[in-house]
Structures are given as C-alpha cells and as structure tokens.
C-alpha cells in the first residue's frame, strides 16, 4: 500500500513526504503546480526531494505519493509508478482495488498496466458525466476496495481528494492532507469527495463506497 499527501508549502510537503515514507518507500511521485499555472510531474525513486534543485519554482500546490509495491513489480519503472495519467486526469492512489480484473474485463480489456491504480484516470475519462464531480462519483462507485486518492484535472486545474476505508487526514485551514497522521490533521470523512483549494478542503459530494471492511 502507499501514501498520498499534499500541501501548499514546500517545507510542509517535505515533512509529509518523510512521514508517508512509512507507508511505502519503493518509489515517489508528485505533481507540483506552479503559481504560473505550470505543472511539474515526477515519478522517481526515493530521496529525490532531498535534492534542493528539485524544487525549482514557486508553487501553488504540491501533491505527492509514496509507493509500497503490492504486486510483484519490484523494479522501478515510471510506467508502474504514481501518479497515473490519462487524458486530462492525473491520479495518485493508495490502497487496493479488489475489482481491478472485473473492471478491466468490463471496460478495458486491452489495458495492460499491471498496477490496479492505473485504471482510475482511464475510468475518469470513460465514465464521464455532466459535471466533473458526477464523473468522479461514478468512478468512486465503480471501484471496490479500501483506498484514498488525489485527482487533478489539467483543464479545470481542480484538485480532489477522496477516501473509502483507507486513512486520510486533512487540515481545512492549511489545506494539507496526508495518509499518515500528523499534528493538526484530522481524519477526513469516509465516502466523501473534497475539493482542495488554497481556501481549504471543501466537502463537495458523498458517494456509495465499496469497502470490504465494515466499520462499527
């Protein structure tokens, strides 16, 4: 399993990266949104953010992912590392999609990426609805498992996070979120989609999650 995190500040991003390495230290991925609307995307092996030159811009938001391989793919390969891109969507995901094979057979028989998460941005394009939010809801309800994820749309520049079962903490004031808990971060609601802006984390929709866990 993996960790996802996001922050508006470079130093906090580094801190959250350090914490989320507990959840997976096989590879690191990020999407850095520049204040000039430019986008820096990276899939790398651990340690890259320690290189000062890595951050070469002023950022409005920094999104990250730490990966622990849950499949036999133990050799670093950008194609099997988060974030995954399809069309306008960029997605990083933490968790296991238990119906990955079923979804592939139903929608994408030729999808060959072995990482289950890779199917999510493809589904976001495939299950498009009248609004971005409805589209996300369709996908969240199509996938089964315990997960949290961030999604970025390169056209609208909107960032969303959602969780179903898996841990995800956030701070409405600092606009941060993280799979790994930290001081000031509170657990985000389950089966809920949040819009992440510089104003905070806004609960924008609920969805019917399909977690294998029953929580009392």
């Amino acid at each position: 399993m993996c960790g996802i995190f996001g922050a508006t500040d470079k130093e906090r991003f580094k801190t959250l990266y350090g914490l989320n390495r507990e959840r997976g230290d096989f590879s690191f991925g990020c999407l850095l949104l520049g204040k000039n609307k430019d986008i820096q995307l990276c899939e790398a092996q651990p340690g890259v953010v320690e290189v000062e030159e890595f951050f070469n811009n002023d950022y409005s938001y920094l999104l990250g992912h730490t990966q622990a391989p849950t499949s036999s793919a133990r050799k670093f390969d950008r194609s099997t590392s988060h974030p995954f891109i399809d069309g306008d969507w960029v997605v990083a995901h933490n968790g296991v999609l238990s119906n990955f094979e079923i979804l592939k057979a139903k929608y994408l028989p030729e999808h060959c990426n072995p990482v289950d998460s890779s199917i999510i941005p493809v589904l976001l394009n495939l299950l498009q609805d009248q609004s971005e939010l409805e589209t996300i809801k369709n996908v969240m309800e199509a996938i089964e498992g315990t997960y949290s994820l961030w999604m970025f749309n390169s056209v609208s520049k909107n960032i969303y996070v959602a969780r179903c079962g898996s841990t995800l903490y956030g701070n409405d004031l600092t606009c941060e979120f993280s799979s790994y808990p930290d001081i000031g971060l509170k657990e985000l609601h389950d089966n809920t989609i949040y819009l992440v802006t510089s104003e905070g984390l806004t609960d924008v929709s609920g969805f019917e999650g399909n977690s294998p866990f029953f929580i009392i």
């Binding site: 399993m1 993996c2 959840r23 997976g24 622990a68 849950t70 499949s71 036999s72 933490n94 968790g95 296991v96 238990s98 094979e101 498992g145 315990t146 997960y147 949290s148 079962g165 898996s166 841990t167 799979s179 977690s211 294998p212 866990f213 029953f214 929580i215 009392i216």
Partner: protein, 246 residues
C-alpha cells in the same frame, strides 16, 4: 468402507475461521478423503481450534469417520519467535480496522506464519500421498495487508514445491479471488454452520467486531444479506441492512 491410499485426498489447514471452514465443506464435495490440520501457535484466539474440531466432526457423518482426520499440531514455540504480532504477543493490542486500514502490514500480521504452516501441510501431504493442499487464502487477505495471503505468495511457494523430485504437491487456493460476500454465499450454499466458526483475533467470549478480521467478516455478512449468527460485543443493527437470519 476403508479407503485405500489411492483414494484422492487433500490436506486442508483449518483455522476454525470462516474461510477455511467454507473451504473444508467445499472440499467434502470433491474429495472422499480429507486430512484437516490445525495449528496451535499460542494464538490469543485459540478458541478457533475448538471451532475447527467441531467442523471436522460435522463432516464425519458425510464422509465416514475414517475418511476425515484432524491433526492439531502444536507449534506453540512460535509465540516466542513471532514477538512482533498482536496475535501472539499479549503486550501488543490487536489492530482495529478503523485504525489499520491502508496500513501495508498491520500488527495483526504474524511473521512468516503462512509459509511455515503451508510447509508443514506440504510435508504432511507428501507423507500421506495426498493430491494437494487447499489453502484458505481469500481476496481480502491481500487487502488486509497480508503478503503471505496473496496470489503471488501462492505462486512462489508452488514454484518451490515443484522442485520436489518424487511428489509434486500443489497448493491450491480456491477462494483466492473470492470476496467475503462470495464466501458467505458459498458457505450458505454448502450449509456451513457459521455459528461454530471463529474469526476475531481477540480471545474473548464474544467477537470484538472491530478488529480487521471481524470487520471483513461483518462486511461479508452485511453485503450477502445474512445475519452473522455469532455474538458481538458491539450491537449490530442487522435490520437496518435488511439482513435475514441464516
């Protein structure tokens, strides 16, 4: 009638939990001879072993008592080795699903337990000239953070077993792609007495309802529309999920 050694037989590790119990009953439809094996590794929830014995005894009528055996193998030394697990170390609290979800490997994981247990099962199967070992790993095992319950683990251990020069026994995991809901339904189909199965990692009189194992079991019952017949410490409002008694 006594079966000869040529009667196809299978070795099944039966913990007394839901998955291995359903598997045991499924096997009784396919095999005329079953060698059930349970392990006492000084687990907190050793009451599962009573459930395993109960379930094996139920099948004696169906298969004939000479055609189903049950060995409870004592590997209680393992408790002293596997000190990092909440299941064997009383100083570590069992991880609740609420806290553990998304954890790549919770404290409920017992170091290399399945590799050891399956190795013993393979040795048992080879000695008994059994055809296969049926392993109760299910889809949820990987989701719950057990690498040694994954399909890759089963594939790899089978590669090792295939190096055997005389008897190549295969580990089969018929439930590996089955959800808990599907396992409950399969159990209902096979008339499994779920009341005498024990899943909870705590060793208390009632199931906690909150550990990862209880949480997966409960979801399986809720989604299949049946009331779990065992009692839980926390009240479950089965009516609100439209669940019916088994």
């Amino acid at each position: 009638m006594l079966q000869t050694n040529n009667t196809p037989s299978v070795v099944i590790p039966v913990s007394g939990g839901m998955d291995s119990t359903v598997l045991l009953h499924k096997a009784s439809n396919q095999y005329k001879k079953i060698h059930a094996v349970s392990f006492n590794y000084n687990q907190k929830h050793s009451k599962e072993l009573d459930c395993a014995s109960y379930q094996v005894n139920l099948l004696k009528d169906k298969l004939g008592s000479e055609n189903i055996t049950h060995n409870v193998i004592d590997i209680s030394f393992f408790k002293d080795i596997a000190q990092t697990s909440a299941l064997t170390n009383n100083d570590i609290q069992v991880a609740k699903a609420r806290d553990a979800m998304g954890d790549p490997q919770t404290v409920n994981y017992v170091p290399f337990r399945n590799l050891m247990l399956l190795s013993i099962c393979l040795a048992h199967a080879e000695s008994l000239n059994a055809e296969a070992v049926w392993h109760g790993a299910a889809q949820a095992d990987s989701i719950a953070g057990y690498w040694d319950g994954s399909s890759e683990f089963v594939d790899e251990i089978n590669k090792v077993a295939s190096l055997n020069r005389r008897k190549r026994i295969k580990i089969e995991a018929p439930l590996l792609n089955s959800s808990k809901t599907e396992i409950v339904c399969l159990g209902v189909l096979n008339k499994v007495d779920f009341h005498h199965t024990w899943t909870c990692y705590e060793g208390d009189a009632e199931a906690c309802g909150e550990c990862t194992a209880c949480s997966l079991r409960l979801q399986g019952f809720v989604k299949s529309g049946y009331i779990d017949p065992i009692s839980y410490k926390k009240e479950i409002d089965w009516n609100s999920y439209n669940c019916i008694p088994l």
